[in-house]
């Protein structure tokens, strides 16, 4: 099942006086349901227009929007479902709480108008999940930015939507407030089991929340697909030209070594060591391994401060956008994929070519910006494969040498 979006809309039919040409939105993509799809792109790329058109707040000149086969908009067939009948819960960047109503009446605004029999979490569940139970009697004007955004989330969720649309819900918040709201978003995503379209220009939010990604640039979709797959593509400057370009790993906390201040994380195809993390054993994380924090070696090295030396296969070499003297290396570590950013000189010096077996050196400090993704208990089928046993020659490079209490399972 999917949310299908196909929109064509031209703003400003004539050139305006500043000589700015008009803007053409031509966005075609489909998003899996349920699941979080991030609409990612710079400001002015048309992300919010897509959200407005899906919500029914904008009537595009041409297009079709269908959720699980049911059209909400189909200009070819004259279908336009009014916003109040679409049941798209929208969380706006500026919260848009009703200033004349208390928090509780804001929350109940959509609930009162939801169709009878529509399933969803109860008022108390939502208030508890978002930590807003103590705010119910207050007016929106008396809330902090983070609180307002949490109430807006609850209000959208309580309207019993079939689809949640989030238009940069964290963009108007400062960094500490963002960190405050993000875990609630993750909880909501896990609890709601709804398709969510999430507009952002922050890769951190994509990493923390989204399963699939739609890249928008200048009103057009340049790529869409699973976040992991797009993250290791080097032909998408929107991602690969960023400082934080790199591969994503689905990790699970395997063990903590408080004495040495280290945490061991397993991922499909291997294990990594990071400075001690706060998550409990069993918690799952998605980590972005920045390409600039990955180096490669063709031989086993000794005396390294780097904790993580992973056996990998070099699967591709490609140029770095806007940086002619560097190259991206695509590495596969078992079923997982990483990117490394190295100098072009290194490629020649080491004679790197696709198919070669190399060692990927990952500085453990590269993970300090990672955020907990799914909360709650891990389910058995989601558990990543246990890391394979270390080979002889790896053993002395391994962070926790064989025979210690922290020995790898399996």
């Amino acid at each position: 099942m999917a949310l299908e979006v196909d929109l064509r809309h031209r703003f400003g039919s004539r050139r305006d006086r500043d000589g700015r040409s008009d803007f053409l939105l031509n966005a075609v993509f489909s998003a899996p349901t349920p699941g979080v799809t991030a609409l990612f792109g710079p400001s002015g790329c048309g992300k919010s227009t897509v959200i407005a058109a899906v919500a029914g707040l904008l009537r595009p000149q041409r297009g079709r929007v269908a959720l699980d086969g049911a059209a909400m908009l189909d200009t070819a067939r004259g279908v336009f479902v009014r916003p109040e009948r679409r049941r798209c819960g929208v969380v706006f960047q500026d919260a848009r709480l009703f200033p004349h109503l208390s928090v509780e009446r804001n929350l109940r605004f959509g609930l009162r108008r939801a169709p009878r029999g529509a399933a969803g979490p109860s008022f108390d569940e939502v208030a508890g999940m978002l930590g807003i139970g103590h705010l119910l009697g207050r007016r929106p004007a008396g809330l902090s930015g983070g609180e307002r955004q949490r109430v807006a989330l609850g209000r959208a969720l309580l309207s019993r939507p079939r689809l949640l649309l989030m238009d940069e819900p964290l963009a108007s918040l400062d960094v500490p407030r963002r960190a405050e709201v993000l875990p609630f978003l993750a909880r909501l995503r896990d609890a709601a089991r709804l398709p969510i379209l999430y507009v952002t220009h922050s890769l951190d939010e994509v990493d923390a929340l989204a399963e699939s990604l739609v890249l928008l640039e200048g009103g057009r979709v340049t790529a869409h697909g699973p976040v992991e797959a797009l993250s290791i593509r080097t032909d998408l400057p929107a991602l690969s030209a960023r400082r934080d370009a790199g591969g994503l790993l689905h990790c699970q906390v395997l063990e903590h070594d408080a004495e040495r201040g280290l945490t061991r994380l397993g991922f499909p195809g291997g294990a990594l060591v990071t400075p001690l993390r706060p998550e409990p054993v069993g918690a799952r994380l998605r980590l972005r391994v920045r390409a600039r924090d990955v180096a490669v070696a063709t031989e086993v090295l000794r005396g390294l401060s780097v904790h993580n030396v992973l056996p990998a296969e070099l699967t591709g070499i490609s140029p770095v956008p806007d940086s002619p003297h560097e190259a991206f290396l695509r590495l596969s570590v078992g079923p997982s994929a990483l990117l490394a950013r190295v100098t072009r000189d290194a490629v020649g010096r080491l004679g790197l070519r696709p198919g070669m077996a190399v060692w990927a050196l990952v500085k453990s400090v590269a993970f300090d910006r990672a955020m907990a993704s799914a909360g709650g208990e891990p389910t058995p089928e989601d558990t990543p494969a246990p890391p394979r046993p270390l080979r002889e020659e790896e053993a002395d490079l391994a962070p926790f040498p064989a025979g210690t209490a922290l020995r790898a399972a399996g």
């Binding site: 707040l57 916003p83 109040e84 009703f98 200033p99 605004f109």
Partner: protein, 236 residues
């Protein structure tokens, strides 16, 4: 309660003025809100014409407005004859007629204030209400109307205060009948025309002045109350 300070006839003029002003606001408030919404949000042919028509009483001499009403609502006028035929009602030379003339004169004042209030309502909030399942009417009554209510109240108070002093249209359409259509300004005018009426004119002028100041203070008080109620004062 009769104030010994005012003569019974003067007191009746004050009461009549308050009554006429109150009725005029009651007449025009709902149509003014509708017209304001139409002018502010509507897109229809003749919008400019309606806008001009509404604002006409501000620029046309009040006597002309009174004369136009006389033509329309006079016993032989197109609307007046219908009213007479259907309901046996006459507006000319009655308190209701004075209220109608006052309502027409203060109509643009209410419309302007209501429009200001409406323009202050963030359309984004109405859009949000739509996504939460509120239809067009639901959005208007649950979001737009409460948020524009300061404008409506300001318009009502201003129109009431202005209505207390309407002269030209009232005297032309409803005449100057003591106890029936002789409101404060008409009573003041009559007093100044009578020998020895200076003291009465001064007393009534003072009452007019006091009422106007009270109206302004009330408008300010309401604006503050509403602002707090709508969460504006705290948002600083």
């Amino acid at each position: 309660m009769t104030d010994a300070w005012l003569e019974p006839a003067e007191w009746s003029a004050v009461r009549l003025s308050l009554e006429v002003a109150a009725r005029s606001v009651a007449f025009s408030l709902v149509p003014a809100v509708l017209v304001a919404v139409l002018l502010s949000r509507g897109r229809f042919a003749g919008r400019t014409l309606l806008d001009a028509l509404v604002h006409l009483p501000l620029v046309v001499p009040p006597v002309v407005v009174g004369w136009a009403l006389l033509m329309l609502f006079g016993v032989r006028g197109p609307l007046g004859s219908l009213l007479d035929e259907w309901f046996g009602a006459r507006l000319v030379f009655t308190t209701e007629g004075a209220a109608l003339a006052t309502a027409v004169m203060s109509f643009p004042l209410i419309v302007r204030a209501v429009r200001l209030g409406l323009d202050g309502v963030d359309p984004g909030l109405e859009a949000a209400a739509g996504t939460l399942g509120a239809g067009r009417l639901g959005r208007f009554f649950a979001v737009t109307l409460p948020l524009m209510s300061p404008g409506i109240l300001a318009g009502a108070v201003t129109a009431f205060a202005a209505g207390l002093g309407e002269f030209g249209a009232v005297i032309t359409f409803a005449s100057n009948i003591p106890g029936e259509t002789q409101t404060l300004p008409l009573a003041i005018y009559s007093a100044t025309q009578m020998p020895g009426g200076e003291a009465a004119a001064a007393r009534l002028a003072l009452v007019s002045f006091a009422l106007a100041v009270a109206g302004l203070l009330l408008a300010e008080l309401i604006a503050r109350r509403m602002g707090r109620l709508l969460g504006r004062a705290e948002s600083a």
